[in-house]
Symmetry: C2
Subunit: 354 residues, 2 copies
C-alpha cells in the first residue's frame, strides 16, 4: 500500500475537506500536446497506443509532466469492452471509432457473452499496473469504462452518431433484445472496472457519452438503470481506502436528481448546467465534477480565468467539487491555455476552502 | 379575412379550450414522403424546391392530403436569411447546408447589414401568399425562421457542427463581434417574420437548433436575449386574430423557466423532458409543443400509440398542448407510422379536453 502525496482529488470526490479545488481534464493525454503526437507517431496509430502498456503509460504521464494536475487517468478507449467481445474496433483515418461486426441479427445478440478482463482486456489491466507504478504515489489514478448504453450505441449502430435510429428502433420495437445487450455489457463492465481497481486504479469513472440522446423515460430504462447496477457491483474499498466512482452522462443535466439517487459518489457535469444550481438540486448526495466548456480554452487566458472564477463562485464554499471540463479537451487547444485554466483553479479556489 | 375551418392549433397555442390536442410534425413535408421525393426530383434540388413558390406550395400541401394534420408549415430552409445577406447557401450532396462565404474577417462582420425581405427573400414571401391561398382556410399556416444564434453558427462555422469551436472562440474572445452578427441577424429576422405574417402566416416559429450547445450563461447572452428581441418585435395581431409565436431551443429543456419569461406564446420541447414536468415548471406562462422522439416512428404502431398516450397523460387535462415530434421527422419513417401517430393523438386526447 503506497502513500499518496496528493490525495486532494479523492477527498473532494468523497466531500471531505481539501485546501483547494482539485482539477484534471477529460482527454488530458491527447492531441493538443505535441509530445502525445510524437508518441502516437511512434506507436503507428491510436489503437497501437492503447494496446501497448509502455506507450499507454508514457502518454498518461505526459500532461502531468507539464501541469500540476491532481489526477491521472488511464489512457485507453471507451470501446475496449465491445472490442474484447469480438466486434472488431477500428479507426478510419479522420473519422470516429467504428466496429467491423456490429450487432445486426438476433442470433448475434443472443450469442453475446460476458467478457473476462483477464482475457482480451489484459493489455488494459497491464497498463493500469504499469501506470500506477510509474506515478509513484504522486497523484491518484482514475480507471474508466463506457456506460452500457453508450457502448451499445456503437455495438448496434456500428459507429458514433447523432440520431441513433438503429438502437432506438430496437429500444422501442424489441426492448428485450436491447436489454440483453445492456445486461451482458453491464456485467462485463463490472468485471472490467473491478480488475482495473485490483490493478491499482484509485477511482473509476463511467462515461455515458450518448445518454443525453434518450428521452427522460428511456434514459432511466436503458442507461441509468445499468449504471446503477455497475455502481452496486463495484469494489468499494482497496488498500484501506474508499475507491470513489464518478458517473457522467453528457447532455444529462436535466436528470441530475435521478442520477444522484443511484449510489454514485460523484456526478460529472457538462457546461449546460450552472454548477451552483446542480449543487442545490443534488444536495449532500454526491460530489460534482465539471464543468467548463472546452471551447473556452480556445479564447484568452483572461477569459479563461474569468470563466473559471464564475464556476468556482457558483459552486461556492466547501468541498465536493472536482474542477474539470464539461467534455474532452479539443485538439486545437494551445497547451498554455490549459495551463492557465489549471493555475486559475488552484489559485482562485483557495478562498472557498478556508 | 378568410374563415378558418380548423383553428384548433391556434387556440391551443393561446391556451384556449379545444376539443382535442392538435398535432403537426416538424419537417412534415419531407423525404419520408414518396410524393415529396418526386417533386424534388422535378425541381432538381432542395434549394430549387425552396426558391420556387409553385413547388414550395405543392410540397407544403402534400402531408395535408395524406394526414388530418392541424397545421401547415411553410416549406423553406432555416438559412434563407444569411443566404439573402450574401453568404451563398449551398447543399453538397449527402451533406448538410454550407455557406460559400462564411464570416471570417472582422471587416466582413462589420459590413453585414439588415436584410429587407422584399429583396432577396421575396421568393419566400411569395410562397407564403400562395400557400395561404391554396390552403383555402383548411388549417392555419405557420411561418418560421432560424434563431439568430443558430443562423450565426452557420454564418461563422460555414456549416453545421457539433463542437462550434469557431463561433465559441469568438463568443469568448471577441463577444463584441458576435453581438454585432446577432444583432443584425435579429433585426433581419423580425422583418422577415413580419413579412411572412403580412403575407398570410397565422403563427410563427423560431427554430434555435443549436442553442443547446451553449453553457447556461452563454445561452442567455447569445441566444435567448436575441429571441426575446424578436418576440418583442413581432406583429401580434392580423386579420383580427392573435398571431401566436413558438420558440424552440433543441437541447434547451434545462432552461425552460428562462425561455418562458421572454414573452413567447409557446415553447417547443424536445423529447428529453417529461412534458408534465415541463408544464409544472412553466406554469400558466406559455403553451407547450412536443415532444415525441422521432425515432419512435421507426418502431411499431402499437409502440407509437403507447408513447403518444404517455405524453398526453403526462401533460394531463386542459388546453395549451400542441402535439409534435421533438425534432424533424426522419427520412426513414414509414408514412403509415406517421399516420398512426396522428390518429393516436386525435383519438387519445379527447378525454383530456372534456
Amino acid at each position: 500500500m503506497s502513500h499518496l502525496k496528493n490525495d486532494t482529488f479523492l477527498r473532494a470526490l468523497l466531500r471531505q475537506p481539501t485546501e483547494y479545488t482539485p482539477v484534471w481534464m477529460m482527454r488530458q493525454a491527447g492531441r493538443y500536446l505535441p509530445e502525445y503526437n510524437q508518441t502516437r507517431k511512434r506507436a503507428g496509430s491510436f489503437l497501437g497506443l492503447c494496446k501497448n502498456p509502455d506507450y499507454a503509460t508514457e502518454v498518461t504521464l505526459q500532461p502531468l509532466a507539464r501541469f500540476p494536475l491532481d489526477a491521472a487517468i488511464l489512457f485507453s478507449d471507451i470501446l475496449t469492452v465491445p472490442d474484447a467481445m469480438g466486434l472488431g474496433l477500428y479507426f478510419a483515418e479522420g473519422e470516429g471509432p467504428k466496429f467491423e461486426r456490429p450487432l445486426r441479427e438476433e442470433w448475434e445478440i443472443r450469442d453475446l457473452t460476458v467478457t473476462d478482463p483477464a482475457g482480451n482486456l489484459s493489455y488494459v489491466i497491464d497498463a493500469v499496473s504499469q501506470i500506477r507504478k510509474a506515478l509513484d504515489g504522486s497523484v491518484p489514478l482514475i480507471g474508466f469504462s463506457g456506460s452500457p448504453w453508450t457502448l451499445a450505441t456503437y455495438m448496434i449502430e456500428g459507429q458514433g452518431g447523432t440520431d441513433f435510429l438503429k438502437i432506438k428502433q430496437m429500444a422501442y420495437a424489441r426492448p428485450d433484445l436491447l436489454h440483453h445487450v445492456l445486461d451482458v455489457t453491464a456485467q462485463s463492465v463490472i468485471l472490467y472496472l473491478n480488475a482495473q481497481i485490483e490493478a491499482g486504479a484509485q477511482a473509476v469513472m463511467i462515461f455515458d457519452s450518448w445518454g443525453g440522446a434518450l428521452s427522460h423515460a428511456a434514459y432511466r430504462e436503458f442507461s441509468l438503470q445499468y449504471m446503477q447496477k455497475i455502481v452496486a457491483g463495484l469494489t468499494k474499498e482497496r488498500e484501506g481506502r474508499r475507491v470513489p466512482n464518478i458517473v457522467f452522462t453528457k447532455g444529462g443535466a436535466l436528470w441530475l436528481e435521478a442520477q444522484a439517487a443511484i449510489g454514485a459518489d460523484a456526478l460529472g457535469l457538462d457546461w449546460t448546467v450552472d454548477i451552483g444550481d446542480a449543487r442545490r438540486r443534488v444536495g449532500e448526495k454526491v460530489a460534482l465534477q465539471g464543468n467548463l466548456d472546452p471551447a473556452i480554452l480556445l479564447s484568452t487566458p483572461e477569459a479563461i480565468e474569468k470563466e473559471v472564477g464564475n464556476i468556482l463562485a457558483s459552486y461556492g464554499k466547501g468541498s465536493g467539487h472536482v474542477f474539470n471540463l464539461g467534455h474532452g479537451i479539443t485538439q486545437f487547444t494551445p497547451p498554455e491555455n490549459a495551463g492557465a485554466m489549471i493555475e486559475a483553479v488552484h489559485h482562485l479556489s483557495k478562498k472557498y476552502h478556508q
